[in-house]
């Protein structure tokens, strides 16, 4: 920096600045590394006469033509695009800079998708549609998490809440023969577990991570126990069936996006609806302001007459209900039956999506789509016989989350009072 040897007084803005500088360099370096990887792994390994065909329509529809691309050129363009993003990111001021890394990763993923389809046909529409499908429970779980954490209650029990709700939805739907009653009971099961979490962490002031661990283990043990005890014997209690997709008239005619977004079952619509509603409500309504104030500074909220405990109870239960929708997806929206431990860590991926999405509904949705994509990419690549071990793709969401919480691409801002017990007047 300078050659002055007298110790300068430490100044906050200088520290900030070097921190931001280092952060910018990290992002740029990561972008360039990703771009180079795309060029080397996909561009140089393809030959100039190879062509990738990407299917752009769902089965039986033919609204837009399929895309044919020269593999090598496409990989080079995308790889150098990522490198360009890295170089460009150096000239941009914080904090939007992380977007560049996201963009670079996106280009890398696209290059991978095209490269995998060289000399073949890749089901591109299927890949995207499958990603949205798989993202649905993750996004719902992440919303459940952020509803709790925005009020300062840590929720690592998303997994347990979803598992319990999946079970509750499956047996009630089977017993009543109505999927809607099943969904309702799934939501109620979620609400019940949300209420348990709320009572444990707010009334009894138990460490919220311990409380969440309790719910996770309890839900897994209880549903497994009941599966062996009841469902094995009475197998007709485990045949709920699944919701059929519903097509929104007119909108479904839009090429590509129409069938993708407007031909889904109820869970997809609920998920997108909740994301849109909460993205608005959290930041534009009195409710949202109260929720955020309780999560950031409960003392201040209490001082102006907001009941911290009431807001927390309400949101944790509400979060449980959303987790309930996410849980019902497993049985009523996807598998059509309950299996032991069927959420299989999705609740933790949802937790990751919440953090990755920085406690924002839209961020959570984007993160969920990214994670859903990395899962669906497995199927896509398996169909194309690509020699990439699926385990590493399945690892990606977890590694990305570690990178995010470690602040390598910008540190997420956590609700300030997250995990703190609040006693009024204490």
């Amino acid at each position: 920096m300078t050659s002055v040897t007298t110790a300068p007084a430490p100044r906050d803005d200088v520290v900030e600045d070097t921190g931001a500088r280092r952060h910018a360099l990290t992002v740029a370096g990561l972008c360039i590394a990703v771009g180079l990887a795309a060029v080397v792994l996909f561009g140089l390994t393809a030959t100039s006469d190879q062509v990738s065909t990407l299917l752009m329509n769902p089965r039986g529809v033919d609204t837009i033509p399929d895309v044919e691309l020269p593999t090598q050129i496409a990989a080079f363009v995308l790889g150098f695009g990522a490198i360009a993003l890295g170089v460009r990111s150096l000239q941009v001021v914080d904090p939007k800079i992380t977007v560049f890394f996201g963009g670079a990763l996106g280009l890398f993923a696209l290059a991978l998708v095209i490269w995998a389809a060289r000399d073949g046909t890749g089901a591109f529409y299927g890949l995207i549609a499958g990603s949205v499908q798989r993202a649905t429970p993750i996004a719902l779980g992440a919303i459940a998490g952020l509803l709790c954490e925005r009020t300062g209650v840590i929720n690592i029990a998303i997994e347990g809440m979803m598992l319990a709700a999946a079970f509750g939805a499956a047996i009630t739907a089977s017993a009543t023969g109505s999927l809607w009653i099943g969904l309702l009971c799934g939501i109620l099961t979620g609400a019940l577990f949300g209420a348990i979490h709320a009572v444990i962490s707010i009334r009894y002031e138990v460490d919220q991570i311990v409380g969440g661990t309790f719910i996770n283990i309890f839900a897994l043990g209880m549903t497994s126990y009941l599966t062996v005890r009841v469902l094995v014997q009475y197998s007709d209690l485990n045949q709920p069936g699944t919701f059929r997709p519903f097509e929104v008239p007119l909108l479904v005619e839009i090429p590509f996006l129409g069938p993708l977004l407007f031909s889904q079952n109820v869970f997809g619509f609920l998920m997108f609806g909740l994301v849109a509603f909460l993205a608005w409500a959290l930041f534009n309504t009195r409710w949202g302001l109260r929720v955020r104030s309780v999560g950031e500074h409960p003392r201040a909220a209490d001082t102006v007459g907001i009941s911290v405990r009431f807001i927390r109870y309400r949101n944790v239960i509400f979060g449980g209900m959303v987790a309930g929708i996410g849980g019902a997806w497993f049985t009523l929206g996807s598998a059509g039956r309950f299996d032991q431990n069927m959420t299989n860590g999705k609740g933790f991926i949802a937790l990751a999506a919440m953090i990755f999405g920085r406690w924002h509904p839209v961020g959570a949705l984007i993160a969920a789509l990214v994670f859903g994509f990395s899962e669906q990419l497995n199927d896509y690549l398996a169909l194309l016989d690509t020699p990439i071990p699926s385990e590493f793709l399945l690892m990606a969401p977890y590694v990305v989350t570690i990178v995010v919480v470690a602040g390598l691409v910008g540190r997420p801002r956590v609700p300030a009072a997250n995990g703190q017990v609040y006693r009024s007047g204490g």
Binding site: G152, Y204, D207, I217, I355, Y398, G407
Partner: protein, 413 residues
């Protein structure tokens, strides 16, 4: 009605103002003192276990189709419902007891089961002491077992060398996995709960991947299973009629070692100081970052060793998902043992007995094994929330102590 003023100080018994009343292990005078304190502190955990067993019994009764039928005709034949319920509970818990402590074989099974539980429980407990919540036991024990397995089937050495080498490899493997969590926390402030959950899944996938490669997969098999561990790395069973391998003795020694480390060494003092108040520790000139990394490294090593004792003891092969659940059981038993080494040994024996007994219970009474996890979860809850137990049993607050806090929010460092 005229109370003499001299009695006034007695209104506040010493325990009530002692901030460590809920953590008796922190003021022990020696190993004997630790035992005395633990006995005094036993009442809370015992009530928690009792409450959990009662709730478990209610769950068993009200999910049994036959018994439910009896309850359906409760008003015509109330005796049947009650006696059926009692019979069901009695036979279930009887079977649980018989197959965990009822015979020499059962007792041996219990001790073998509790070996990894104690070790991984020590891992969680030690991390607690340093103010860290190690949910990552599952990942650490998997990575440790992978390292030990690799040593096991790669080298051909005499037992004197091979077995210690495998144990060390397992410890180092788990230790590095754990130290990663500590490093991320110390260097970047990433919360250890999130990173350890994520690293658990990474470890699971890593194991899946390893078992799909030629290095780890058993020759001639397509399913994810490793070669059998050779005899030269197996933990020896000294007494033929009482089949407990030496891993159990090792676990007890390690528990003593943990107590010694925490109470008798500078490193242990640093760990406890950082755990009690990181700011004060930093102000006192202790290296908080180094202590965090070291604590997680040791904790990971203990979990790795725990996984290794499974691999070299009861289940001499790696399979997908290798005993990941032990990592979660360990959290429950570290809470139950109030994060003290001797408490963890006791809790580990209890959980070992529950798990050894549950298999017998399922075989004899058709009560599914999974009820054990429900009971374990309830134990976590009741230990962590003594207020609930107090309400149920109407015990005074000071006898049970307050609930403990184990971790700060995501953002706090």
């Amino acid at each position: 009605m005229t109370a003499p003023p001299a009695e006034a100080p007695e209104v506040l018994p010493p325990e009530a103002v002692d901030p460590l009343a809920g953590a008796p292990h922190d003021r022990e005078a020696g190993f004997g003192g630790a035992v005395r304190d633990i006995v005094k502190g036993l009442i809370g955990p015992l009530l928690a276990i009792l409450t959990a067993l009662i709730v478990g019994a209610l769950i068993i009764v009200f999910t049994d189709p036959d018994t439910l039928e009896a309850w359906g005709s409760f008003f015509s034949a109330p005796g049947t419902a009650l006696s059926d319920s009692w019979d069901l509970i009695a036979t279930s818990y009887r079977a649980l007891f018989d197959s965990s402590l009822g015979s020499q074989r059962a007792l041996a099974r219990t001790l073998v089961q509790s070996t990894p539980l104690i070790l991984v429980g020590l891992s969680v407990a030690l991390a607690f002491k340093a103010g860290l919540f190690n949910i990552g036991g599952a990942g650490q024990l998997i990575v440790g077992a992978m390292a030990a397995a690799w040593v096991g089937f790669t080298f051909d050495l005499p037992q004197v060398v091979h077995l210690p080498l495998a144990l060390v490899a397992g410890t180092i493997g788990g230790g590095l996995w754990g130290a990663t969590i500590g490093f991320l926390k110390a260097r970047t402030g990433a919360h250890e709960v999130i990173t350890s959950i994520m690293l658990n899944f990474v470890a699971l996938r890593l194991l899946d991947y390893a078992l799909s490669t030629d290095t780890f997969r058993r020759p001639g098999r397509t399913d994810p299973i490793s070669p059998e561990m050779p005899e030269s790395v197996r933990l020896p069973v000294p007494i033929d009629s009482f089949r407990v391998h030496l891993g159990f003795v090792l676990a007890l020694l390690v528990a003593w070692g943990c107590w010694w480390l925490l109470q008798r060494t500078t490193i242990g003092f640093r760990m406890r100081a950082v755990g009690a108040n990181a700011h004060a520790a930093r102000y006192a000139g202790m290296g908080v970052a180094a202590t965090t990394v070291l604590s997680m490294g040791i904790a990971g090593g203990l979990a790795g060793l725990g996984g290794t004792t499974i691999l070299l003891g009861s289940t001499p092969r790696l399979t997908g998902g290798f005993f990941a659940s032990v990592g979660f059981d360990a959290i429950a038993l570290a809470l139950l043992g109030r994060a003290s080494p001797i408490g963890v040994v006791g809790a580990g024996l209890l959980f070992g007995a529950l798990q050894a007994g549950s298999t017998g219970m399922q075989a004899q009474t058709s009560t599914p094994i999974d009820i054990i996890f429900v009971i374990q979860a309830l134990i976590i809850l009741f230990v962590a929330a003594p207020a609930i137990v107090r309400t149920v049993w109407r015990v005074k607050e000071t006898r049970l102590g307050a609930g403990q806090r184990f971790s700060a929010g995501w953002g706090a460092q």
